[in-house]
């Protein structure tokens, strides 16, 4: 019997990264912008998607993949807006992985413009998993407090844009949007910041314009 040490150097996320790369290639080939939404539970991801569905109506076609531990509730809310939605229930897992998204991808209509993937509500684990998206939005709602970026740096570091939600509650809360943005920008310079109230429809135009620009950019590279 002999003992030997071997060098392995194997990335534990390699399988997910490969699956994500295949999804990204497929979406780009079809000219679809993939958008991954990350936040704590209750920050307003589904409500933001409902507001975007209203904003894009008749102008852009979207589809939504919903990730939750249990229930079909979020997908039902999106379908009520006339938008195709698929619910992935992870049955306990705290994040979506690329292969879960890959399984649904075949059912997503080819002629859409945006594929939104609403991750499981969790500001920690989903940050580590690339889902093949081209844009990652992290949401932070005013009741959560403006000190969260430095406490959960991975989520903000991995994002392209920060959406500060529930701005309609600001008069009642000590939340300082400028402080939240500054803290996030210290972690991720160049992060785009949006202030929205999805309930009142405020700030949705600016976010929709940002998504439009990203879509045009993706299609111009492809053309």
């Amino acid at each position: 019997m002999s003992v030997k040490t071997i060098s392995v150097v194997q990335d534990l996320l390699a399988t997910n990264k490969r699956a994500a790369a295949a999804i990204r290639e497929e979406l780009r080939r079809r000219g679809i912008l993939g958008v991954n939404l990350l936040s704590s539970p209750g920050s307003g991801k589904t409500t933001l998607l409902e507001a975007l569905a209203d904003r894009f109506r008749d102008r852009r076609r979207m589809a939504v993949i919903e990730g939750d531990i249990e229930t079909e509730r979020d997908a039902d809310r999106i379908r009520a807006k006339g938008v195709p939605a698929w619910q992935i229930t992870t049955g306990g897992a705290c994040h979506l992985e690329a292969r879960m998204v890959g399984k649904v991808l075949g059912q997503v209509p080819a002629e859409i413009d945006f594929l939104f993937i609403e991750n499981v509500g969790n500001l920690v684990c989903p940050a580590s998993y690339d889902l093949g998206e081209d844009l990652r939005l992290v949401l932070l709602s005013s009741p959560e407090g403006d000190d969260k970026p430095a406490k959960y740096p991975q989520a903000f570091l991995s994002a392209d844009a920060l959406v500060l939600t529930k701005s309609d509650l600001l008069p009642h809360l000590p939340f300082d949007p400028a402080r939240a943005a500054a803290e996030a920008l210290a972690i991720k310079p160049g992060l785009r910041v949006f202030n929205v109230s999805a309930l009142r429809g405020e700030g949705i135009d600016a976010l929709a314009a940002y998504l439009d620009e990203a879509l045009e950019r993706l299609r111009s590279v492809r053309a």
Binding site: M1, V3, K4, I6, Q10, L12, H95, Y129, P189
Partner: protein, 114 residues
Amino acid sequence: MHELSLIASVFDVLEEKAREHGAARVTKVVLKVGVMAGVVPDLLESAFDSYKKGTLAEEARLEIVRVPVRLRCPDCGGEMAREDTDFSCAACGSRRVEIVAGRELVVETIELET
């Protein structure tokens, strides 16, 4: 709390390497875990200990090597360690720094008994 699914990936690697090398047992596993990898070493250890029962790594020790954050600055060429989450260049203040280490989740080496 995705440590258990990461440990499941570790065991995929262990089984594959043990087969390749004709080994009957794995006695030690070294993981490199960046401080910004988003996982908790203690939870990785508990997940490893519960997962290993009845496997070829039943007696294996898990060693976790923490990798601190290192930044490289494209503007002044500096490279530096950083302990907080202010990712700017300590030398010139540039905000365009790249994170070159501190996010890894890697099976570095394994010790096999053949």
